[in-house]
Subunit: 666 residues, 2 copies
């Protein structure tokens, strides 16, 4: 790297950091080798000049943005391909790349080829029989075809059984007839579907011998391989501009009695024979696996996006000077305001909490998957519930703390050159995609209520729910991290007991089970949320203790401070719950508040070191406010000057409209 | 209006509404005549075809968006001008137009001429002497010149004394020399400054006879009136793309020893004579008035934007059907889920709360202003504190509930055709502009701490703080709305007492007053927030009681339910505070929770009627999800088809990049 001049405030922050930043980076990456591998990959990708934009994306028209994204996507794919390590298994590759965010250096708004990799290929692997895998995977992995995955419809999302697209088997021609009976049956949302993909895995209700055989997957060609024209009987287009992800090319897809050969149904699980006989799959629960996998990725992604936002905000807060603390002193760094520390340090801790939790969940997932392959399904429901819960909490918290980071940068955070608004644009959809958050919380609540009843029947509970069986009240307040974790468990247990009681009360009052459930659902979701909080704090604490034991004392101390900050922050946020369900007193509240403020003070000198430790390169941060050198104002101006409006001193609209108007001639 | 076919679910919602929707609209508008006037204005503006966009703004490039905005801005100005009622005073006009949101039908992202009207002209009125008013107002009101207001600098925002731009008086030529000594001194942010305005009110530090005479206003020509070229010594441009407000044309401005005549200093308050003698203004507090005025407008604007978001989300929730409540029933309207009601009804209530509060504050402002003109300044500090406080709370709440409305629409809320993301883009900057929220809360805290000390000295407090003097604890929990309001006051008082105690404790521990203040600031801002909550609930209750007394019983009942919902919602949100500072018990908490759920049930049949009552026309809502007719899916598709990407079945990037790539030739 060329020598750079660093803003002097940032330099002095770095000088006073109490731990070794490189050690922190290695800890986050899971070892020195992983750090080195990640950096090599970043160097390689960033050395390709054609992958950089001369004019920032935000100045292009919607159509130009897409065309530019395709240009870069094919190039990016080739560079990535050249970096694949053939000696790594898929599992290793994914686990080792959890901190890789290089894609966002190339696409502020993601790539139109993402769904091909993340959904199309896995769907073939998961749902295709051996023959289908053999044929389609080869074509897909060679990029001879580009695919996507179409499940959601214009009128139907989380509730799978509501899908309307039909696939009716015609034994006369041995074909399926795909049809969209209504406008609401149109597929809507799949990335790459609009103008990029020529194949697509389509989820549709199978009808054979006049019987509804449930939702099944079909691989469907949608565009001609030579001309790229949509095939007859297929209506395709893009769904329009969005808050973010605009270069992903989300599309719609409608069928007008479109016929496909029988072998295009993916038949790993269920099958239809030539004469139309339907054979059901062995276990429908196996499809849970993919959903869980995607949700683990989301938790991890939330941690990475939050790390990005908080890196930008902390560095900016070290450079920005504003107002007066003392009349005789110069304007202080805004990072010296305790209110600013209160806004931002929790973001650092939260990113750590979810990246730890994501890895823990990933290992849990791997274990349950290998059990599944051995035919053991016992631990699947708990895993499913955990993944739902953690997807919800991580997406909610990341959205809140990314926005808080943006707002902590004042007006400048509103500028796209800060890259904070776009980061929010990538974080917030996680609250509604891959299972809408409230629906997921209600699923978690369902698993908790079930566990509650099992407990009453004296049965053993899954490990993450075992605390529900402990009926003993806490006899005194214990303000240690472990003590607060136990109090959080009491809160979750208390809220669950309360909502179960209400659920039962409503039934006794004459409501149906379903209406009673609905009526209690505000409290049930609150109980599920509390359960999730208890888990995240505990996993963060336990995993940090386990992995950080071999670290140097200064780093260990810094990490312990983050765990404690995270715990105290949530205890103070949930005072009402703790006052109701634990022996917390007013004096204890005062004490926690004072400890929280002391912690902010202790973390303050390490704040820049902590975000430097995330080791997010300037090209990935993409932010005038957050670059390593802290040249905030110079970069803001440099970015502004890239606006095409600044290429001309006078815009043509002056002559056309403004001047005649001012002269009273319009 | 032409006859329209309304979605049958929406039609049946309307049939079951228990009050007269038109009566609600008149109540919100402040009378039948105001409703009629507003509608006439809307009809007139919307009848101008050229003001509508053929291609939605979001598909244009940044530059095209600006050019299109200028085209419409001059036209819109003329139409508006033709609607001015010469018989109305400014005060009446503004008060009567508080529910007018027609601008947003024309500009999703606001107009580049807004600052001319909202800041440039008022600055001349407020700061110019009679001669200057006479000359400049005529030119400005005739639109012979277009101006803006430049205060904020690249490196300096809320803290006025930190500004760097200098205006040095040169008695030899009787000119001021304007200069930007550094990059951070560049003016940054003013709307219209980049390519639209040719004049500008500039705030700069005045130096005369080598003395710093503080920040003063100057009217500066920045572009040639004929050619629109920036004048020599002036650097101008736009600051770049933003999260929203992209058509507002925010700009930067730097001076290189640029000279202007002496009479360009606006001299209503301070003056500089020909020989350079400086005369200070009579009372610098008078400038508070304008800040308060702008903050009142913000509170009102937040209420209007929230009304828009919640109208969209409630109508969509009545049309959207998803999942199952009962196996045998069809998919229910999502509005039937209690969790959905919990997300949205508070948004309706909050919009009502802030539109009431804004009017109350406006009348308060008018009263204090007339006192000011009579030389009485006593009530100014309280007004200032109230305006700060209500600006903060309304901007925070509106942002939260607008986002909640968007997320309650699931994935479709992420689409720009919902207009929900853009609505958030207009709401969220209110948290940082016109006084950053945390800075304002600390100002409120300062006024509260001062009041606290006055109270200890036995002095009488301003009416909105009088409750601080009541030292009596509540002896039992009173769950009525008025009882909860009193409890909120106890919370505010308790939190203030606690933070004052800490502030003093830190000083006794040896910290300077300033460091102690900083260390206590997390709690001080929390106390200020609680004070604001107490005020909003009380004003909402009192003003609704006062004004709604003449309404029909069914509407009155519906409004009372909103007041109660708002009160209970915040009580449940602030349980920890209430448990600490009021005699609330666990049983009372259960009771409130049950009442809250019952209220949701009672409001449910009126939900669509309540948002219909906001009477926001489809052209203003600009939303495929929220239109009056509920043709949600048809409109989503119609909007999608407007994307220029959909004009061609195959995008050129296929031939250029994708095909060679898929054939392995790239």
């Amino acid at each position: 790297m060329a020598k750079i001049t660093v803003n002097k405030d940032l330099a002095s922050e770095r000088a006073k950091c109490e731990f070794n930043v490189e050690e922190l980076t290695n800890y986050l990456d899971g070892g020195r080798e992983n750090t080195a591998r990640r950096r090599r990959m970043e160097d390689k990708v960033l050395s390709v000049k054609e992958l950089r934009d001369e004019i920032p994306e935000e100045y292009l028209s919607h159509k130009e943005k897409y065309e530019n994204a395709i240009r870069k996507a094919v190039l990016f794919y080739k560079v990535q391909k050249s970096l694949d390590d053939p000696n790594q298994s898929d599992h290793e590759r994914i686990r080792n790349s959890y901190r890789s965010t290089i894609t966002s250096a190339i696409f502020k708004d993601n790539s139109p080829l993402t769904l091909h990799i993340v959904m199309f290929i896995p769907a073939i692997i998961g749902q295709g029989n051996d023959e289908q895998r053999e044929y389609w995977l080869k074509r897909a992995k060679n990029m001879e075809i580009i695919g996507t995955y179409a499940q959601t419809e214009l009128g139907h999302g989380t509730f799978l059984r509501g899908l309307e697209t039909t696939a009716t088997y015609d034994p006369a021609t041995e074909e399926f007839v795909l049809h969209s009976p209504t406008l609401t049956a149109y597929k809507w949302w799949p990335g790459g579907l609009a103008h990029t993909a020529n194949y697509c895995v389509v989820m549709a209700i199978l009808y054979t011998k006049s019987k509804n055989c449930g939702i099944q997957p079909f691989i469907v060609q949608i565009r001609d391989e030579e001309t790229h024209m949509p095939l007859p009987g297929i209506k395709l287009g893009e769904i329009g501009a969005k808050l973010g992800y605009n270069t992903v090319n989300n599309g719609f897809l409608g069928f007008d009695n479109h016929r496909i050969p029988r072998d295009r149904m993916l038949m790993r699980n269920a099958q239809v024979s030539k004469d139309g006989t339907f054979t059901a799959g062995a276990n429908s629960k196996l499809t849970y696996g993919t959903m869980v996998y995607v949700r683990v990725l989301i938790v991890n992604n939330m941690a990475n996006l939050l790390a990005k936002a908080v890196t930008i905000a902390i560095r900016y807060s070290a450079v920005r000077r504003q107002s007066k603390l003392k009349p005789e002193d110069p304007e202080p760094q805004i990072l010296d305001y305790v209110t600013q520390q209160h806004k931002l340090f929790i973001g650092i801790a939260t990113s750590h909490a979810y990246s730890r939790t994501a890895l823990w969940l990933w290992d849990h997932y791997a274990k349950v998957t290998s059990e599944l392959n051995a035919g053991k399904l016992d631990n699947l429901p708990e895993l499913h519930s955990l993944a739902c819960c953690l997807k919800v909490l991580s997406s909610v918290d990341a959205a809140v703390f990314v926005e808080r980071s943006r707002l902590a940068c004042g007006g400048h955070g509103y500028m796209l050159s800060s890259n904070l608004p776009q980061t929010y644009g990538l974080v917030t959809p996680a609250s509604t995609f891959e299972g809408e958050n409230t629906v997921l919380l209600l699923q978690v609540a369902r698993s908790l209520v079930k566990a509650w009843q099992q407990m009453l029947n004296g049965r053993q509970l899954a490990p993450s729910m075992a605390y529900l069986a402990d009926q003993k009240q806490l006899d005194r307040w214990d303000g240690s991290v472990n003590g607060i974790i136990r109090a959080f468990q009491k809160v979750a247990r208390g809220k669950l007991a309360f909502s179960v009681a209400n659920f039962e009360k409503y039934q006794k009052m004459g409501l149906s089970r379903e209406d009673a459930w609905n009526k209690a659902s505000v409290q049930l979701t609150a109980a599920a949320e509390s359960h999730g909080r208890a888990i995240v704090v505990q996993v963060f604490k336990t995993e940090t203790d386990r992995i950080a034991s071999s670290l140097s004392p200064p780093l260990r101390k810094a990490l312990d401070q983050l765990v404690e900050l995270f715990t105290l922050y949530w205890a103070l946020e949930r005072l009402g719950d703790l006052l109701l369900y634990s022996p917390l007193s007013e004096v204890d509240v005062r004490d926690m508040q004072a400890r929280y403020e002391e912690l902010l003070e202790k973390i303050r000198p390490n704040a820049v070191g902590l975000v430097d430790g995330f080791d997010i390169r300037d090209e990935i941060l993409n932010s005038a406010l957050g670059a390593y050198d802290g040249r905030v104002y110079e970069r803001l101006m440099e970015e502004a000057l890239k606006s095409p409006l600044n290429a001309e001193p006078v815009n043509s609209s002056f002559h056309k409209y403004l001047k005649p108007f001012m002269q009273g001639k319009l």
